[in-house]
């Protein structure tokens, strides 16, 4: 891996098996098994993707629904293992793939900060230290001892964002989460991301809003049906994409 790169994606392909549930009972299953008709359809969500992202860059992934953007993000975050190819990363990753994915609705906000923080690999002492920051950023001071099941979806997302971005990660992965909360909170989120980028964090960003992409990123990669159409400077790629 080259030292100037934060992420290196080499020839990555991802295959999903589409299990179609067209077998209703055991007899049918058995007959189909004997006739060897039980094969499932294969679906290649990504085909031979290669991409290098340099440290400090902010790369946008654009493309239509179902083009494989989220799959690629999950592979980079380590959630999925690619069928073929390799992904190399350097440094810590903060995945904002879905805010509050690890929250337990029965626990209070305070308890969830520690649970979710532990899932992201933070240490206890760091969580103790940053606890007040997290709560004040999420603007949830009056509700720290309320179980999360009573929270609104905006409160949920705010807390999720606050926890995930409290450490300064080397790589930040954002999957269309900036569309949460009111516009004031969105501004706050963007501000925090901008601050991280100034500090040298590499950002990977997925969005359908070309405006937002141009505002945040300096590079872009365009995916279509699992293949890379083009990548390079954000304005060039976005212009081609908009014309298409």
């Amino acid at each position: 891996m080259k030292p100037e790169n934060a992420i290196e994606i080499t020839d990555v392909s991802m295959k999903f098996n589409l299990y179609k549930e067209n077998v209703d009972n055991l007899k049918e299953y058995f007959i189909k098994y004997l006739k060897r008709q039980l094969s499932h359809d294969e679906f290649w969500a990504l085909k031979n993707i290669s991409l290098e992202i340099a440290k400090g860059d902010s790369m946008a992934l654009i493309g239509r629904n179902g083009s494989g953007k989220s799959t690629l993000l999950k592979i980079i975050a380590g959630v999925l293992k690619p069928t073929k190819g390799t992904v190399e990363r350097s440094g810590s990753i903060a995945p904002l793939i879905e805010l509050g994915a690890g929250f337990d609705p029965d626990l209070t906000a305070r308890e969830n900060v520690y649970l979710n923080g532990a899932m992201l690999g933070y240490s206890r002492s760091m969580l103790d230290e940053k606890y007040d920051d997290i709560i004040s950023f999420a603007e949830l001071e009056p509700f720290v001892d309320v179980p999360l099941k009573n929270f609104s979806s905006g409160m949920y997302a705010r807390l999720g964002f606050a926890i995930a971005t409290i450490a300064k990660p080397d790589i930040l992965i954002i999957d269309e989460v900036l569309s949460v909360g009111d516009f004031k909170f969105q501004e706050k989120c963007e501000e925090r991301i901008a601050k991280m980028m100034e500090g040298g964090t590499t950002v990977l960003f997925v969005s359908h809003s070309i405006e937002q992409v141009k505002k945040i990123c300096n590079k872009a990669a365009w995916l279509d049906h699992g293949t890379m159409v083009m990548h390079g400077d954000v304005f060039e790629v976005c212009d081609m994409y908009s014309k298409n």
């Binding site: 999903f16 995945p95 793939i97 029965d106 899932m119 992201l120 690999g121 240490s123």
Partner: protein
């Protein structure tokens, strides 16, 4: 080298393991008036019911029946609860596994450990019963942790194994309830081994839970130091199940996210 990576990875997620166990314990008793006290009360009340049933309806010739029964129950209930909850842990945590990377063995492991918390308070309940029934306390009592550790290792192995099997073969979740009932009757919890016909005695020799229970009673109730052959009957199944569980889990864990 590789082991070092595993250990440092585990150390990083040690806090998560603790938080997961804490969560289980907290949620289980949240909003109940007696709270954590239930972990103590439950085995006590259960013991009282079963003692009444088996001293009046079905009589076995066993000295100090309450303690005899509880020794068996403490171990078996721990195993039964730990392995069943660990089995579904991967499937229940599907939303999480699909979104964040966390070492997946933490889920079955945390379930077994939260049941272990229950086991500890059941042991306290057992001590209370021993005082009430005026059971003579012998020096071997201090060895009680040995069979408990065996049961813990065996449960971790089974939990890890079952949790990965359950992902690709869901039927096991429905089957396991029946299996665990059969297993319970094959373990001398409320009856003496001596009442069984010979062929069943041989089967029970190969039942690791019966061996754990036997060793537990040896040190608590009878003041015997466990024999080497009994240790062997406990140790070998633990090792086999743990190695098999880890092997199957490691081979399957990358597929989990595609199947849940």
């Amino acid at each position: 080298m590789k082991i070092k990576v595993y250990i440092s990875n585990f150390m990083q997620y040690k806090l998560l393991l603790k938080e997961l166990v804490l969560r289980d314990v907290k949620i289980k008793y949240r909003r109940s008036v007696l709270g954590l006290l239930w972990t103590l009360l439950n085995p006590l009340l259960m013991m009282i019911v079963l003692t009444i049933v088996f001293s009046n309806m079905f009589r076995f010739d066993i000295d100090n029946f309450p303690v005899y029964l509880m020794c068996g129950q403490v171990i078996f209930n721990f195993f039964s609860e730990a392995s069943s909850t660990a089995m579904s842990s991967i499937i229940f945590n599907a939303p999480l596994i699909k979104k964040i990377y966390v070492p997946k063995y933490l889920f079955p492991l945390s379930k077994v450990l939260s049941c272990f918390v229950n086991l500890v308070s059941s042991v306290i309940a057992l001590v209370i019963v021993m005082f009430i029934t005026k059971t003579p306390i012998t020096g071997t009592v201090v060895l009680f942790f040995i069979p408990v550790i065996y049961a813990l290792v065996f449960s971790i192995g089974m939990g890890v194994l079952l949790s990965s099997l359950a992902v690709s073969f869901r039927d096991i979740m429905h089957l396991y309830g029946v299996l665990i009932t059969a297993w319970m009757y094959l373990t001398p919890i409320f009856y003496p081994i001596s009442m069984l016909p010979d062929f069943l005695k041989t089967i029970i020799m190969f039942n690791p839970l019966a061996s754990f229970v036997e060793m537990f009673r040896d040190v608590i109730l009878y003041g015997n130091i466990p024999s080497w052959s009994l240790h062997l009957r406990c140790f070998v199944p633990c090792l086999i199940v743990l190695v098999l569980g880890v092997f199957v889990f490691k081979r399957q864990q990358d597929e989990f996210v595609l199947k849940i």
